[in-house]
């Protein structure tokens, strides 16, 4: 049974919706500060899924570290924040960014807002959606140095591909998976986190551990 999930995860990539809003982002603040390390704090949850922030956190370290940044361990960070009396998202956004530097020595802090974490059943098809907004703040100046958002939708193929044999098979498999177990949102969260980082001209420039460090800036400057 487990092997059936793997292709579904990959197929989800095919139905990925890039959610690019607004004009091309301005990277001047980013290049002014050039963080080496990123502190990822527990996400702000705008959905009704109470377990979303915890599971989301398990999928975010890897893409940011792979982009060349030092990423502080997320659960250690969460526990330290709880010790400091900052148990959740709501209060975290009120904290002076400089405090994250004083406590953790982090160059930048990443605030994530989870905007969608849901499964919709529409007649014959179902769609799973994960959407998040990301804001990277310099812990010295308090300035926002990068902002992006990403939406990933995985549907059961009830639409355009419905006519083909493959489409029918895939649709049935996804439906079976969705109905058989509690939806695992992690593959979608993982994709959102990866795409938002590597997205051309909107993603994050390479950090100090990446081979393109200070070489890919032209991709983000106009």
């Amino acid at each position: 049974m487990k092997s059936a999930y793997l292709p579904i995860a990959f197929l989800a990539v095919l139905s990925l919706e890039a959610c690019a809003t607004g004009p091309k982002p301005d990277y001047s603040k980013f290049f002014e500060h050039q963080p080496r390390s990123i502190l990822i704090v527990p996400p702000f949850n705008k959905t009704t899924a109470v377990d979303a922030p915890g599971f989301f956190l398990t999928t975010i370290s890897q893409p940011f570290a792979e982009k060349g940044y030092y990423v502080f361990p997320v659960f250690l960070t969460r526990d330290i924040l709880i010790d400091m009396g900052l148990p959740d998202e709501g209060v975290l956004s009120q904290v002076q960014p400089q405090r994250f530097r004083e406590t953790f020595g982090a160059d930048a802090v990443l605030f994530v807002t989870i905007k969608a974490w849901s499964t919709a059943y529409v007649l014959l098809a179902s769609a799973v959606t994960v959407e998040a907004a990301y804001k990277l703040v310099d812990t010295d100046s308090g300035e926002v140095i990068w902002e992006a958002s990403q939406r990933v939708v995985q549907d059961s193929g009830g639409g355009g591909s419905g006519g083909s044999l493959v489409g029918a098979l895939v649709g049935a498999a996804v439906k079976a998976a969705l109905h058989a177990v509690i939806t695992d949102y992690r593959p979608l969260a993982r994709q959102a986190n990866s795409f938002v980082v590597i997205k051309r001209r909107q993603g994050l420039p390479t950090g100090p551990y990446g081979s393109d460090y200070q070489k890919d800036y032209a991709n983000y400057r106009d």
Binding site: S3, A4, L6, P7, F10, L11, V13, L14, R36, S37, G54, F55, L57, T58, T59, S61, Q62, A65, E66, G68, Y69, Y70, V71, F72, P73, V74, F75, L76, D79, T103, F104, G105, D107, V166, L169, V170, A173, R186, R190, S194, I198, Y209, G210, S211, D212
Partner: protein, 120 residues
């Protein structure tokens, strides 16, 4: 038959993805699964399972002379600390600080806190 169709599709989708992704900086082993288990199962057995996964990652990285990803030594140290092994925990917090200088500030502050609490 069905699974073969899926495999071909999966491979195709996978190749399409790799085409635009740079090669990995790190071998992540079961890091994400270890976080998932810690999130899902806060009991001692869940923590122990996560600990084991990090241990395997560290052993493999040592054997192949790879750099473990950011946070792995620190997380391993943190789990050791929670198991009541402060001295071993400090060893791994130090390793994190040496491997990633960006963590030194936090690691030093954690180490000094642990040392203050230890009975002399």
């Amino acid at each position: 038959m069905i699974s073969r169709t899926f495999q071909v599709l999966a491979l195709w989708a996978c190749l399409g993805l790799m085409g635009c992704a740079p090669p990995s900086l790190y071998d992540w082993g079961q890091y994400e699964d270890s976080l998932y288990i810690r999130q899902k199962d806060a009991s001692e057995s869940g923590q122990a399972e996560a600990f084991k996964m990090l241990e395997v990652m560290i052993q493999e990285a040592d054997a192949k002379n790879y750099r473990v990803p950011p946070g792995v030594y620190a997380d391993y140290g943190y789990l050791l600390f929670k198991q009541g092994k402060p001295d071993q925990a400090i060893t791994y917090f130090r390793k994190e600080a040496v491997l990633y200088k960006e963590s030194k500030y936090l690691m030093d502050s954690i180490i000094s806190r642990i040392e203050q609490r230890k009975p002399q």
